[in-house]
């Protein structure tokens, strides 16, 4: 009856998937109808039954409570992991503050299309990367040929003679980090402006007219309006002017007077900006010709010597190597190793 906690013993769980279900039959079958020996049996059974049942009820209660507690703990852990994984599998954020940079006039071009003249634009390329850190006792070796690098990694263990001792070096692929690249394009309109804080005093049609009238008053800095897009719900509008330059003039101030009947309301004006990202790519770097060598933590020589010894060893075909381009090792402090994109010559 009082078996070991089914929660801890998973084997039992699989054997008795529903322990609780087994409690009721024994209770009713054996306790209440014990057999032929009538009263006496009943008497004992009654007491025992009472205690059994009470105990069973208590046991069931504590069992249920225990299971509930465990389940809650599991749910909490699951929620935590789900949140963690969701954040990393669904999206990540990049936040950058761009330092002030001095600009130089390169040229004055005549644009092909008139539409280019309607905006001032700013664009730039962003590369987000995590530089590769070469740890103590590690080295990087770049071979001329990919096959050699592959072979060296395939062989994995290399015994390199360094002066008096043989050092066990392990060759592996360089675990490069991922990189994100994209272009940012921002266009600020010369002919459109955003207007917000428009009071909801008139029906849409009339408000559009009032906006057009107010924004065409040259004494307030306005100019001929080409069109008005007005949204009553948000109390905002986009005004397009016929001439460029009007927008710039109005935007010198943060607000503008809007006349509705006898009253004047100051509405907020801001630039009309369109921004988007182009050529967005996420990729992980893969090192095809460079190999990571580890196992030199206890080498007691200077870095230059070690680099030469590694170079000599891995130049030899009999050691599984080949023509070596570059060797760099880090014996005392970690260093940043800059990896560059491989440029292939196209046929």
């Amino acid at each position: 009856m009082f078996r070991g906690s089914p929660l801890v013993d998973s084997r039992q769980e699989s054997r008795n998937p529903g322990l609780g279900c087994q409690l009721s039959p024994p209770l009713s079958r054996h306790t209440w109808f014990p057999g032929r020996a009538g009263n006496w049996f009943q008497g004992v059974t009654r007491a025992r039954a009472r205690s059994f049942l009470r105990a069973d009820a208590d046991y069931t209660k504590s069992l249920a409570e225990e299971i509930k507690k465990q389940n809650n703990r599991l749910k909490k852990e699951i929620r935590k992991l789900e949140a963690e994984l969701q954040v990393s599998t669904r999206d990540f954020q990049i936040q950058e503050n761009i330092p002030e940079t001095k600009m130089k006039l390169e040229s004055i071009e005549i644009p092909e299309t008139d539409s280019q003249l309607l905006n001032r634009s700013c664009s730039f390329q962003v590369n987000v990367q995590v530089p590769y850190e070469l740890q103590r006792g590690q080295a990087l070796i770049t071979f001329e040929k990919e096959e050699v690098a592959k072979n060296v990694i395939r062989m994995r263990n290399h015994l390199v003679q360094m002066e008096d001792e043989s050092v066990d070096i392990v060759a592996q692929q360089v675990p490069l980090n991922s990189e994100v690249r994209f272009q940012v394009h921002v266009q600020i309109s010369e002919v459109k402006i955003n207007v917000t804080g428009i009071p909801d005093k008139l029906p849409a049609d009339q408000m559009r007219d009032k906006l057009e009238l107010s924004f065409s008053k040259s004494r307030n800095g306005g100019g001929e309006v080409e069109c008005v897009e007005y949204d009553t719900q948000s109390g905002s509008a986009v005004i397009t002017f016929v001439e460029s330059g009007v927008a710039g003039k109005i935007l010198k101030k943060k607000d503008y007077p809007l006349y509705i009947n006898q009253n004047c309301y100051n509405v907020i004006v801001s630039p009309y900006i369109e921004k988007h990202v182009e050529k967005f790519q996420v990729f992980s770097g893969i090192s095809t010709r460079t190999v990571l060598l580890t196992g030199m933590d206890n080498v007691d020589l200077d870095e230059d010597t070690v680099e030469d010894l590694i170079n000599i060893h891995f130049q030899r075909k009999k050691n599984g190597g080949g023509e070596v381009d570059v060797v760099k090792c880090s014996l005392h402090h970690p260093q940043i190793a800059y990896f560059e994109e491989e440029t292939y010559e196209t046929i």
């Binding site: 609780g20 209440w32 009943q42 039954a49 009472r50 009820a57 069931t60 069992l63 249920a64 299971i67 509930k68 465990q70 599991l74 699951i78 992991l81 990393s88 599998t89 669904r90 999206d91 990049i94 936040q95 950058e96 503050n97 761009i98 130089k104 006039l105 040229s107 004055i108 005549i110 644009p111 008139d114 003249l117 634009s121 700013c122 664009s123 730039f124 390329q125 962003v126 590369n127 850190e133 770049t142 980090n177 990189e179 940012v184 010369e190 330059g245 630039p271 900006i273 990202v277 967005f280 990729f283 893969i286 090192s287 381009d325 760099k328 402090h333 970690p334 940043i336 560059e340 491989e342």
Partner: protein, 302 residues
């Protein structure tokens, strides 16, 4: 007898009391089995994707080959962003020019006078001056997530005798066909890691990623290309400030009375005269008369 009945009654009640029944325990245990399996799956997923700090991307992502050429630097460095190809374009109206002085103070002085009179042999040109302001992005926040209508086609062999446009066309044709599992292509972009294709309808991207590999005809041969999910980026926030270009002045409303080179000289002479408040001119560029122009600025450092 009565006593027995009473006890039976009491005990029966106790059995049916609101305390948890064995049946309830059964259900709770079933739930626990389910929860344990879910936790196990999530832990496995986390292990597979590694310990995801912001710099690691935990899904099968395309690869670009890199090589170490020997450049190192002492110390440690966290994730960093490199900005390059900064380009700012500002339209210039008809009859305008841009003057950059060696000394920013000269520019300030010139700007103190809104109107300038340029003396020519027979007449005077009245022009206006204005400071030059350029829009600069000061803060950018970009978020990215898997786009369920886009895919990345990778594994495109190098050295194919196709232009970017031709390659995009061929891939759009292939993956635009329902018979290949594709659908109407709405957007396409040539990237370093492959080609991005965006579909007009739901489900196409998933279908293609499920298949994963396709034999695509290019240049008379068939190549095995890989299709995988594409992460697209979106600007959440971009703060822009208008920064004056010290030392530069925009000249406006120049009457259209002479051609470019002549106008250039006339303006340069005028603005170099200290008596006119001018000074040494570093550069002077004129918008070709009769046209509107676009001033293109690039960064000195980025």
């Amino acid at each position: 007898m009565l006593h027995f009945k009473k006890t039976t009654q009491k005990l029966k009640e106790q059995q049916q009391s609101p305390g948890p029944s064995p049946r309830a325990c059964c259900i709770l245990l079933e739930e626990q089995t389910r929860l344990k399996k879910r936790l196990h799956d999530l832990q496995k997923l986390r292990k597979e994707s590694g310990n995801c700090p912001q710099d690691k991307v935990p899904f099968p992502c395309p690869e670009l080959p890199f090589v170490f050429r020997g450049h190192t630097q002492q110390g440690k460095e966290g994730p960093k962003s490199l900005l390059s190809n900064l380009r700012i374009c500002s339209p210039l109206p008809r009859g305008s020019a841009l003057v950059t002085f060696d000394d920013p103070e000269v520019a300030k002085q010139v700007l103190q006078q809104k109107e300038h009179e340029i003396c020519l042999e027979e007449c005077r040109l009245r022009v206006q001056v204005q400071p030059l302001e350029l829009p600069m992005v000061t803060t950018i926040q970009v978020s990215s997530q898997i786009d369920d209508r886009r895919v990345l086609v990778s594994g495109i062999p190098v050295g194919l005798k196709l232009s970017e446009e031709q390659l995009l066309d061929k891939l759009e044709i292939f993956f635009g066909k329902a018979s290949n599992g594709g659908g109407d292509v709405e957007v396409r972009e040539f990237l370093q890691v492959g080609v991005m294709l965006g579909f007009a309808e739901d489900g196409v991207a998933q279908r293609l990623c499920q298949t994963g590999q396709f034999k695509v005809p290019l240049c008379g041969r068939h190549f095995l290309l890989r299709v995988s999910p594409y992460m697209s980026g979106e600007i959440q926030k971009a703060e822009i400030s208008f920064q004056p270009v010290a030392g530069s002045v925009v000249v406006l409303n120049i009457p259209d009375v002479m051609d470019g080179p002549e106008l250039h000289d006339v303006l340069e002479i005028h603005f170099q005269k200290p008596t006119r408040g001018g000074g040494e001119v570093e550069t002077l560029k004129v918008v070709p008369p009769g046209h509107q122009g676009m001033a293109v600025f690039t960064s000195l450092s980025v």
